[in-house]
Symmetry: C2
Subunit: 260 residues, 2 copies
């Protein structure tokens, strides 16, 4: 399967604006089963599903030796890995009964529920912002991350009204930084509808879903977007900007909200 997908975007680069082809990396849900029981859904690059499944089970302490593995069956198309393991049925039942392992936003299954529900989200389509404000907001945003500058170890997220950064948080976790912004705005009863979300980290489908659930219609990141996030963003007509650094950015969707 392809690890990337070809897309078309609008690139702003020091005064030049052009529509250009580019590639984005794919996110693919792989669901791992042990002895027919679903253990986890990982969002991964669609390659080497056997290695990923075995490595995951080793890392989680669910297998130890090669001799424990009776059979491995991979359904690439459906994104399913079925691992049959010797005489440990009870162990796995206990583990998965107690706490199914889930990643990020509770794993792939919730993700697809989210994706289905995103159609109902009414994004504010009348919001517009000039490309100059995108550049100046991101300049202010990048300058604020003192913790990152000191340690190189954190992500940041912020909410802007287009002129000023209203809320800013940093955290060791990308998801935590965004959740802190969401919780802070919620406490202050700030309406998300006419706000812009700024991120330092990559735009995964899970990050996009968090923004969409809050009805945020413009998302700007210093980093790369993943293909599933772009797909979802297009469906709900969210404005997605990535690689916003210095005097450049890539505009992936919701182009009508950016004034050049």
């Amino acid at each position: 399967m392809n690890l990337t997908r070809k897309i078309s975007l609008i690139r702003y680069d020091k005064g030049n604006i052009e529509e250009t082809p580019d590639i984005v990396v794919r996110e693919f849900p792989l669901t791992i089963h042990i002895n027919k029981e679903r253990i986890v859904t990982l969002l991964c690059s669609p390659k080497d599903f056997t290695y990923l499944s075995l490595g995951f089970l080793l890392s989680e302490g669910l297998i130890k030796e090669k001799s424990e593995i009776k059979a491995i069956e991979i359904d690439e198309k459906k994104g399913m890995a079925y691992i049959e393991v010797m005489g440990k049925e009870n162990t796995f039942q206990r583990i998965s009964g107690k706490a199914k392992i889930s990643k990020g936003c509770s794993g792939g299954s919730l993700l697809y529920n989210v994706k289905d529900k995103l159609h109902d989200i009414p994004l504010d389509n009348n919001m517009k912002i000039s490309y100059k404000k995108v550049l100046s907001m991101m300049k202010e945003f990048s300058g604020k991350s003192e913790l990152f500058q000191n340690t190189g170890g954190v992500h940041s997220a912020a909410l802007s009204d287009g002129d000023n950064i209203l809320i800013f948080h940093e955290d060791v976790g990308r998801h935590n930084a965004l959740d802190k912004v969401i919780g802070d705005a919620f406490m202050k009863e700030i309406d998300f509808l006419d706000k812009i979300l700024l991120l330092s980290g990559r735009i995964s489908s899970e990050m996009l879903a968090k923004a969409a659930k809050r009805n945020i219609s413009i998302l700007v990141s210093r980093s790369a977007p993943m293909d599933l996030a772009l797909e979802m963003g297009k469906e709900i007509n969210m404005t997605i900007i990535g690689f916003a650094r210095g005097e450049r950015f890539n505009l992936y969707s919701g182009k009508e909200r950016i004034i050049f």
Copy 2:
């Protein structure tokens, strides 16, 4: 609480070697409870626990309105958030009975089990490698990441014997890239004991635990380490190198394995 911790490290920079103070970012486990039931443990920067808790619950769809919240109690020292929510006891019981939400390596509780068990891990203390090989390995490693160079959207991980890169994988997920390397080496029956793990991404406690469980004694990353990872690495005397880029790196622990 402090968001960073002061440490001492050995810095190699274009031929200069010096012991120097530095700061690393802290990882802190916050356990969120709804109506007295444990929902999740997040590894976060120890600040704004209320915002993080509420943002997390909003993002997961577990709360919607401010009026639903009866009480919020934060125990900063213990890393506990207790949220009392109106008349939804059954909903939360259903959610948390079905699949407790856990992050990364199954959340903080497992992490601490791991930390306890790390004492028993016999790392190969006789392994040594010259600083020149660290630089050349990382040069080869960074050059291999074609997908990253094309998309900026992936992490990579590799296993080296000090001379050559034996296994290399890229993935949209940091944990997936490492698990693919682990699964691949496991299938090929490669012994981890005398190998070096190379990472593009940050060294969190969860990434370190995965390496430690495989008895890897030298870990080199292009990025920053977190403080809990360093603490755990020191306990088991793992060699940890961060910010290995170009002609420089930071050596945090297990210094005797690096020959200058």
